[in-house]
């Protein structure tokens, strides 16, 4: 039983580490604020869920596990709220999204995600330049 729990913990923690790495890479490589918010608030929250599940398997006391569930639900709601708050605030402050048709003017940072952003070419709405 101990071995099963330990194996599951290892798998869950490694999966969580993968999502945290994806969130960090997205934060560093995506071209504008809206894409970075997208990468961070989704990938990191999912990674935290995997890490919390892996940690919960090592506890074995129900109220400690309940604390982790409450913690993850709090982070889940907070990430969605903050993503919406920052994105709408950035639009009101004049931060413009990098759109697909502007790709040649974006310099070095836009080159790495050019293929994903090409899918939204021709869409005129403001939030759809994000991959």
């Amino acid at each position: 039983m101990e071995v099963i729990f330990n194996t599951l913990t290892v798998i869950l923690l490694l999966t969580g580490c993968f999502f945290f790495l994806a969130g960090t890479v997205g934060l560093l490589r995506f071209p504008d604020l809206y894409c970075r918010l997208h990468a961070l608030t989704k990938a990191d929250t999912l990674g935290l869920g995997f890490v919390a599940a892996g940690v919960a398997l090592q506890l074995g006391v129900w109220h400690e596990i309940l604390l982790l569930v409450v913690l993850w639900l709090l982070v889940l709601g907070a990430a969605a709220t903050i993503c919406h708050l920052l994105a709408s605030g950035a639009l009101a402050h004049g931060v413009r999204p990098v759109l697909a048709e502007e790709a040649p003017a974006d310099g070095d940072r836009a080159g790495s995600v050019g293929s994903e952003r090409g899918q939204s070419a021709g869409s005129g709405r403001s939030g759809e330049g994000c991959p």
């Binding site: 918010l37 940690v55 982070v75 990430a79 950035a90 402050h93 004049g94």
Partner: protein, 118 residues
């Protein structure tokens, strides 16, 4: 097993260190706050892993406080700290005007390059 937990915690700390690059490069104030969100979420995960590795129950309560403070940081930034610099849209950091070129309409509907310059 403890060694594995410590390795995971070290990997997450390396993630936080990589996120510092975004704090330096910006370019907008909001990008730096997004990096602070990364520190909040990753910090919670580090504390959870360390609480099992060191068998320290209070660290899980500290992780809960970290999750709450990360929310407060962002709300305080959006409501109070996001200052508008005179003469230019406040979303741009110092010296980074790569995205400038359109009027600041503020409603988010017309955000495409106007063709007026460049």
């Amino acid at each position: 097993m403890t060694t594995f937990f410590l390795a995971v915690a070290f990997f997450l700390v390396a993630n936080v260190a990589a996120g510092l690059v975004r704090v330096i490069r910006g370019p907008t104030q909001a990008d730096r706050v997004v990096a602070a969100q990364l520190f909040g979420t990753t910090g919670v995960a580090i504390l959870l892993v360390l609480s099992v590795a060191a068998d320290a129950r209070p660290l899980r309560d500290v992780a809960l406080i970290f999750a709450l403070l990360a929310v407060v940081i962002s709300v305080a930034f959006v409501k109070r700290g996001w200052v508008r610099a005179p003469g230019r849209p406040s979303g741009y950091g110092e010296g980074q005007d790569r995205l400038e070129g359109g009027p600041n309409r503020g409603d988010g509907r017309e955000n495409r390059r106007t063709g007026r310059d460049r």
